[in-house]
């Protein structure tokens, strides 16, 4: 009996050590949903462009929390507030933290916000994952609550728009919103989320027009070319992402990982 207990203790000790060596037990406990993939209609297709093929992938069922990000910066001091060079995050980075390794008054279970794209990408990399591509993110976001495609559900667009528009400026704990078809939570009601390829959907192609196109898409008659005109929430998401730069951060912008 004593032997068993000591073996158990030893195993537990090693397990804890392994968890500590990794950047945190919580991060590795991150639960991911398997998504078969399929087609995503670009909101603004390039002339002649069809749907984007999204291969099978896995995505976190929850946004990354303050507690998880704390474990990451504890193991990776270069990502602590104050240690990050300006190119990867300015004064707004992790605003609200009491110190580099102290969340202060922030809810550990709330999604981490005030993170730049560079920090989010580094977090996912440290976990052996990556940020979801915009197409992957949208593929999951387009799922309904009971159907593979939200647009097949009565009232879906209104529900998503209401979730998007009624977000709490100080996001509450993750996981309180209803899971969607894939078992993924909080795609709409909590925070905006970083994607791997920010802004890329607004690019025209191997062309000379550069950024002009995005302006026409969001602001001009070009928006009539958007695939589902009734999906105003999707329109907002694309517009929001198109204005982002990698060193930007705000209290309403978080992320989750995929692989």
């Amino acid at each position: 009996m004593r032997t068993l207990t000591s073996i158990f203790r030893k195993a537990l000790g090693q397990l804890l050590l392994a968890a500590a060596c990794a950047f945190g037990a919580q991060a590795f406990a991150a639960s991911m949903a398997a998504v078969d993939g399929g087609l995503v209609e670009p909101l603004f297709p390039i002339e002649g462009e069809g749907a984007t093929v999204v291969a099978a992938f896995r995505i976190d069922v929850l946004p990354v929390t303050n507690a998880e990000f704390l474990a990451f910066v504890a193991a990776n001091p270069e990502w602590q507030r104050g240690n990050v060079p300006e190119v990867f995050g300015g004064a707004a980075y992790l605003r609200g933290w009491a110190s580099g390794t102290d969340l202060g008054a922030l809810d550990p279970d709330a999604p981490v916000t005030n993170v730049t794209w560079f920090a989010a990408a580094a977090y996912c990399e440290a976990r052996g994952a990556r940020l979801p591509t915009e197409a992957e993110w949208e593929f999951v976001a387009n799922a309904g609550f009971s159907n593979e495609l939200g647009r097949n559900e009565p009232g879906y667009n209104e529900r998503v728009l209401s979730l998007t528009a009624n977000r709490d400026p100080v996001p509450g704990p993750v996981g309180h919103g209803a899971a969607n078809y894939y078992g993924v939570h909080d795609m709409h009601g909590l925070v905006w989320e970083w994607v791997f390829d920010i802004g890329a959907s607004f690019n025209t192609g191997d062309s000379r027009s550069d950024g002009d196109r995005r302006l026409q898409l969001v602001c001009g008659g070009g928006s009539a070319g958007a695939v589902d005109k009734s999906d105003y929430a999707a329109f907002l998401r694309y517009a929001f992402r198109s204005g982002l730069t990698g060193d930007y951060s705000s209290g309403g912008l978080g992320f989750r990982c995929a692989n």
């Binding site: 192609g205 602001c219 929001f240 990698g246 309403g252």
Partner: protein, 248 residues
Amino acid sequence: MRHVRGSGARTAARGPLVGRTRRVAALLLVAALFLAACDGKREQAASAGAVAAHAEHAGTAQAQDVDAHAAHAEHAGTVLAAGELPGTSLFHLTSAFTAQDGAEFKLAELRGHPSVIVMFYGDCTTACPLLVKSAQDIEAALPSDIAAGTQFVMVSFDTDRDTPDKLRAYADEKGLDKDRWHWLIGSPLLTRQLATLLGVQYRDGGNGVFAHSNLVTVLDADGVPTARLEGLGVDPEPALAALRAAND
């Protein structure tokens, strides 16, 4: 360093469109604010920020130069410990690329000389040859002593199809597999990181054709961007001026 600014020439050429898009941008801004009103202050700032970026795009002429000069002035005015990189240096990106000779290459190896950075891809037939040529033209237009102190960095974003060998063949074909010209390929993450730092957007259409922005960036000897040429066929003078200044 926002990447959504237009060149003056382009903005002027689009005169009537600008008026219209501004009006529509204003409408959208109102719509966004209306929505955000239910949404709290921070979201309001975020939503409005996205839309404001477009409005700014329509109205800004030559902002990139102002931006670059401001960055440079700020850099010059900052007292740094010897060897310490400025916060805005791209050399903080420390992962290694692979060069056309198969050797590892880190951006920090450029330190001490100004450089010209272009992102492109090997199979690109329309814009990329012009992008590479614009770097070549910059080299040709510089006084020889300044040209000799300038590094040229061509980074592929086709991490699936381009290889060091392919890039070397591409460079060789153009007579540009030579000293001071670095043809680089990196991991998907590193490539995206560099693009995000530069403000280059790209996406793989899935068929080997990339949608991408056309951008030539000048870095000073510490890796701080000091000039950007956005679009093709634009006046190279801001880049030349930045390179001359870096050699003063």
